[in-house]
Subunit: 255 residues, 2 copies
DNA sequence: ACGACCTTAACGGTGCGTTAAAGTTT
DNA sequence: CAAACTTTAACGCACCGTTAAGGTCG
């Protein structure tokens, strides 16, 4: 008993086009192909094979992976490994969805309160040579004095585009400790007024605020974003000047 | 202050190619394009806009939807609606992942026990004219007698390809009640030995067994599959003959 | 003038749906 | 002979990555 493609499609609930595609990519070859007409013929057993294929696909396995499994149908070893992998990726996608849900709920509350939701994105930044001065200050505004001092101490042609402040301690801890810095495009001789160092490469959770804003809402959002995802701070927070914007960066490591 | 595409790409963590694509599809137009050279220029504010775009994308929103949101930035109404939709789809995908996880765990146990996991697929079937005889029997094999009776009572040219049994009661309930049926390709006059009726359209959870198997494992798998997903049986179970296979179908309705 | 930028254009990959033109079966 | 099937071939979708060939900037 052999089925032609249309009947097989009807029985299996898969379109004829999909069956032809599965033939083309070698995933499910018809049991027989008429050499004169090119008509494809399938057996009832192939209904079961197709069901296995569709079940795996519904679990999110790619057709290429399914083909590997079906072709080298051998190892129970391979099967176990695939299933474990699958389990991992499913757990991952559940966790991602859970976190996204938390974000959406927070965004709904913010929209309710007529505030614009704050977007957080993750970036990788390479390490960077910088010149900086570290200072304890009473208010955020006080830090600008040190920025100017740093600026004047350096040869202009060596200064890059990136400028900002590293915050080692923030208002929560009783006093502020900031470290204005500028990127260095070239090596400069050491000097007394500032430190030369490498800002380490890092993975950063970032968000933006207008420069004239105090950014408190952004800081709060980033802190919550990290705690929801189970990240920890892995260094001083960074503020980057992008007039008229301010980019606030939290260096993170997982757990 | 304007950035060229490369610098903007570096700052935002998005590739220049992606930025060109976003320009092409009208999702993020550069603030300025040099009419002579075609160079694109971006503002710092666009970093924030881009961050919102990427945040939405990471939540699984399509670029087309994001474009709609960004362009008609008006209604908080629209925003709320989108967020609620998003919440729904996220909950859905979490639920799907949860169910898939249960399946994978079950499959792992089966592989452990050296059994081949049974694939379940869902199909929609249209309604079907059938002729049938209903009978109470002691064992599954006893039903074949009625199948032959039905077979002999019908004009061969009216009989279609689909043949099987509807099970109204199975062994669990103390006795068996089955109803062999055949598809009718054309109307036939009523006759005493069998009923003529329409098998209703249904959504079916299906799995396969070799015809010589009793199919108990398949039944058990289908029952568990339904309970995990919160489906209920919506009619008699169907067994379809596809020699040498048997397709077992549970008609389902959600919850 | 050299390298590091920028431009458009084109193909590739996934998993098919959707015509279109032509041959086969009943 | 017509209707209902089948075949291959081609384009399209989303979201870019990846060359390739050629202008621009410092």
């Amino acid at each position: 008993m052999l089925y032609r493609i249309g009947e097989f499609a009807g029985l299996s609930g898969v379109s004829a086009k999909t069956l032809r595609y599965y033939d083309d990519i070698g995933l499910l070859r018809p049991a027989n192909v008429d050499s004169r007409t090119g008509y494809r013929h399938y057996t009832p057993e192939q209904l079961q094979e197709l069901a296995s294929i569709r079940a795996l696909k519904d679990l999110g396995v790619s057709l290429a992976e399914i083909r590997l499994l079906v072709s080298r149908k051998g190892g129970g070893k391979d099967q176990r490994r695939l299933l474990l992998e699958l389990k991992g990726s499913l757990q991952q996608s559940m966790e991602t969805a859970r976190q996204s849900l938390q974000w959406v709920d927070a965004a709904l509350r913010e929209v309710q309160a007529n505030e614009k939701p704050i977007a957080v994105i993750v970036k990788r930044r390479p390490s960077l040579w910088i010149a900086s001065v570290r200072a304890k200050v009473k208010t955020y505004a006080d830090i600008t004095r040190f920025e100017q001092e740093l600026w004047k101490a350096l040869p202009q042609q060596a200064v890059g585009n990136v400028r900002g402040v590293l915050w080692h301690r923030c208002a929560d801890s009783g006093f502020l400790e900031g470290e204005p810095f500028v990127e260095l495009k070239e090596r400069v001789p050491a000097r007394s007024v500032c430190d030369l160092q490498q800002l380490p490469a890092a993975t950063l959770a970032c968000a933006y605020a207008p420069e004239d804003d105090d950014g408190e809402r952004v800081y709060q959002t980033l802190r919550r974003w990290m705690s929801v995802r189970g990240y920890r701070l892995s260094g001083p927070k960074r503020e980057i000047y992008l007039h008229p914007m301010l980019e606030i960066q939290f260096p993170i490591t997982s757990a």
